[in-house]
Amino acid sequence: MKIRKLTLTTGAAVLLAGAASAAWDEYKPLFALGYAEPEEGQLVHIPPTLQDLEDAAMSPELKEVVRRGYDLFVDTQQLRGQHVFNDMNCASCHMDAGRQPFSAALWPAAITLPDYRGKNWQVNSLEERVVGCFTYSMNGDPPEYGSDTMLAITTYMQWLAKGAPVYPDQEIYGRGYGSVDEPEQEPNYERGKEVYAQSCAICHAEDGQGLKQDGQVVFPPLWGDGSYNWGAGMSRINTSAAFIKHNMPLGQPNSLSDQEAWDVAFYMNSHERPQDPRYTGDVHETREKHANFHGRTLYGTVREVDGHLLGDHDNTGEKDFLRPEILRSRTFD
């Protein structure tokens, strides 16, 4: 292993060099599993654990809200039919309850928002970011701004960022799902199907519907009404390839080749799912309007194997509306 000195945080007294190399140590087993090591100058932050919360000098009331946020994050199904209309928990796509690097850890959002977001062409607050994941990933009706549920979730995120500098100048280590180099060969449905049968079907099932037992989701569905909708980040092939490469098969990260990750991401996202809440009534028009997003999805394209036009339907899944009213746009003109 290369020993490099990292500029962890300029100006934040909490992450001194000593504390920093301790942080390094905690992630060492991850490097052995094929995760990239931090690069010179990157911001590394190890979020606190639930045990740290118990030990922390914080008001019991605040701890209670953090615990509530954690509970909502790992068991979001408790909001089923109210805010959530598919089989997902937030933790289905954010491993270790949103603590894990290369698994869209939550703390970076807490220290970099409000920030401009290309997805909706405006500056978003942390609450608006959460509204985004409810709208698309959960195919849902997001909790109100300022509601107890919203407060609990955002408090949990902010607590995970404890000690990290706000609006850091450095690049953040392990943010999002990382990235996977562009594949040598164009991603391919048939090859993806093979990877899927070999590496994924044992849990997510041959038909992609996962496994439910006694009404509880054990393995989440990857497509269909129970899964994320066409507006979710996971429907982008580059994003899902990176998620899969760094997080799947469960327990065996980085075990697929880059090509396999792209192929299986392509296969997974060549299936139908609930309509994009930004749907204008015309799939081509919607794709065009959100080209910066859909440029990496298969929405509005024809599936080669059977000529099916993906996303050309009015199916909103389990919910009976298309677009949640809470989405808002603002301008400071």
Binding site: L33, I202, C203, D214, F219, P249, Q252, P253
Partner: protein, 225 residues
């Protein structure tokens, strides 16, 4: 836990009645639990009449079979027969069964209510807390994914591929984890279990085995359906 037994009986009715999908354990053979019971005379000296098995401290524990899924049991028996899982004690007994008999005993054990486990009494609270952490949340810095994310809610089993491990004997759980670490057991699909076991320390194994053995599984939760 008398209540459990009642729930178990109910699960049996539901499992073979409502669901309408009899356990097709081996190559499409349908198992008959009644016939299966008649074939277990040779098994009960170790696995006991109620399928509870026995924790054998310092020796080779006999696993609880009661309430494991039929598909899992049948595949293990086939694996013993064909050498994919190696154990000198079990190979001889597995070899006494033809395919129909494998399907039948699997169907029989699958519908028995989950019994209580033994072992794991000799650990302190900190060890139990570590065991609970591994079982329910995992230790992601070591990339030990929580046991329940594969073994299902309550670690009571998920589908046919992921056996119930809650309320399994501590000695058996620990023994299997060590076997995986040493490469002596390697019949797990896609090496899914080996990957996790190899990241565990001896202390982790002791902790999680003790914690799991202490859990009670109501059969409504079990994987026998």
């Amino acid at each position: 836990m008398r209540k459990k037994q009642l729930a178990g009986g109910l699960a049996l009715l539901l499992g073979f009645g409502l669901a309408g999908t009899p356990a097709l354990a081996v190559d499409g053979l349908e198992g008959d639990p009644q016939r299966g019971e008649g074939l277990t005379q040779t098994c009960i000296s170790c696995h006991q009449a109620d399928g509870s098995g026995q924790n054998v401290p310092g020796g080779e524990s006999w696993p609880r079979l009661a309430g494991l899924s039929a598909g899992y049991i049948a595949r293990q028996l086939k694996d013993y027969q064909e050498g994919r899982r190696q154990n000198s004690t079990m190979a001889a007994f597995a070899n006494m069964l033809d395919d129909q008999a494998v399907a039948d005993v699997a169907a029989y054990y699958a519908q028995l209510p989950v019994t209580e486990a033994q072992g794991g009494d000799d650990v302190d609270d900190a060890t139990l807390a570590r065991g609970e952490e591994l079982a329910l949340r995992g230790d992601w810095n070591q990339y030990i994914v929580s046991c329940q994310s594969c073994h299902g809610p309550g670690n009571a089993g998920a589908g046919e591929a992921f056996p119930g491990i809650a309320s399994q004997h501590a000695g058996y759980i620990a023994g299997q984890l060590h076997q995986w670490q040493e490469g002596e057991r390697d019949n797990d699909p896609q090496g899914l279990m080996a990957a996790i076991a190899k990241r565990m320390s001896d202390e982790d194994i002791r902790a999680v085995s003790a914690w799991l053995a202490r859990q009670r599984v109501t059969s409504a939760q079990g994987d026998s359906k």
